[in-house]
Amino acid sequence: MLSLNYYLALSALIFAIGVMGVIIRRNLIIIMMSIELMLNAVNLAFVALARSHGSMDGQTIVVFVMAVAAAEAVVGLAIVITVFRQRQTLDPQEMQLLKG
């Protein structure tokens, strides 16, 4: 059995990659995918900790994360579709009508 540290370090790396994607990309769909990546990194940490503590709680929370991720993804994509219909772009920098 591997030490927990391996999994937590991997989870931290994947989370950081997700954050990087959110910062550097200017395409809403890819930004949402980066968010999915971060959620998965957290899921990995939850499952690793559940295994380490010998408790099912961590795994149960992952089910909720998945439910929230599904809701977030579909609502986000619906917003993306609506915005694209209005402005013909996916660049978040272009969406600043409220900026006066």
Partner: protein, 166 residues
């Protein structure tokens, strides 16, 4: 080097490469496919952590449903793949992500060593559907109901959002 460690390193390398591919591909379709691959490797990592049910759910929900919707939207909008690349911003993003990764790793590693309770302490049916359901329908009953309401709200919300004004 035992077999478990080698498996972990292979999976970790594949996961990191596919995750980097998600954020560096120019074409959103390739990004989405890289993300599907990354989700697969996460599912296999779940298997190594004795969570077979979650591994299957991961494939069923993420790869089978959420990512198909992503692909559907990408194909529907067919957006222009070109986007401006500003090197200052890229440098800042990489730096921020690097610092975050270092801090997180520095944070978890000593803690991880402390909470580590030794392997093999769990039964063979750990992570089975039965165990997961027991936990879900006893300790987490209220969050479960709230999650179902959340999904219903999301369902109604997207119909309202995506439907064209008649």
């Amino acid at each position: 080097m035992n077999a478990e460690l080698i498996t972990f390193y292979i999976l970790a390398t594949l996961l990191i490469v596919s995750s980097l591919s998600v954020i560096f591909q120019r074409n959103p379709i390739y990004s989405a496919l890289s993300l599907v691959a990354a989700l697969f490797f996460v599912a296999v990592l779940f298997l190594t952590l004795q969570a077979p049910m979650l591994a299957i759910l991961q494939i069923l929900i993420y790869a089978g449903a959420i990512m198909v919707i992503f692909l559907f939207v990408i194909m529907l909008l067919n957006p222009d793949a070109r986007e401006p690349r500003r090197f200052l911003w890229w440098g800042f993003g990489s730096l921020a992500a690097g610092i975050l990764a270092l801090e997180l790793i520095a944070l978890v590693i000593p803690r991880g060593a402390k909470v580590w309770s030794g392997g093999g302490a769990v039964g063979p049916d750990f992570g089975s559907p039965k165990k997961l359901a027991e936990s879900l329908f006893t300790d987490f009953m209220l969050p479960f109901e709230v999650a179902s309401v959340l999904l219903l709200v999301a369902l109604i919300g997207i119909v309202v959002l995506a439907k064209r004004e008649a």
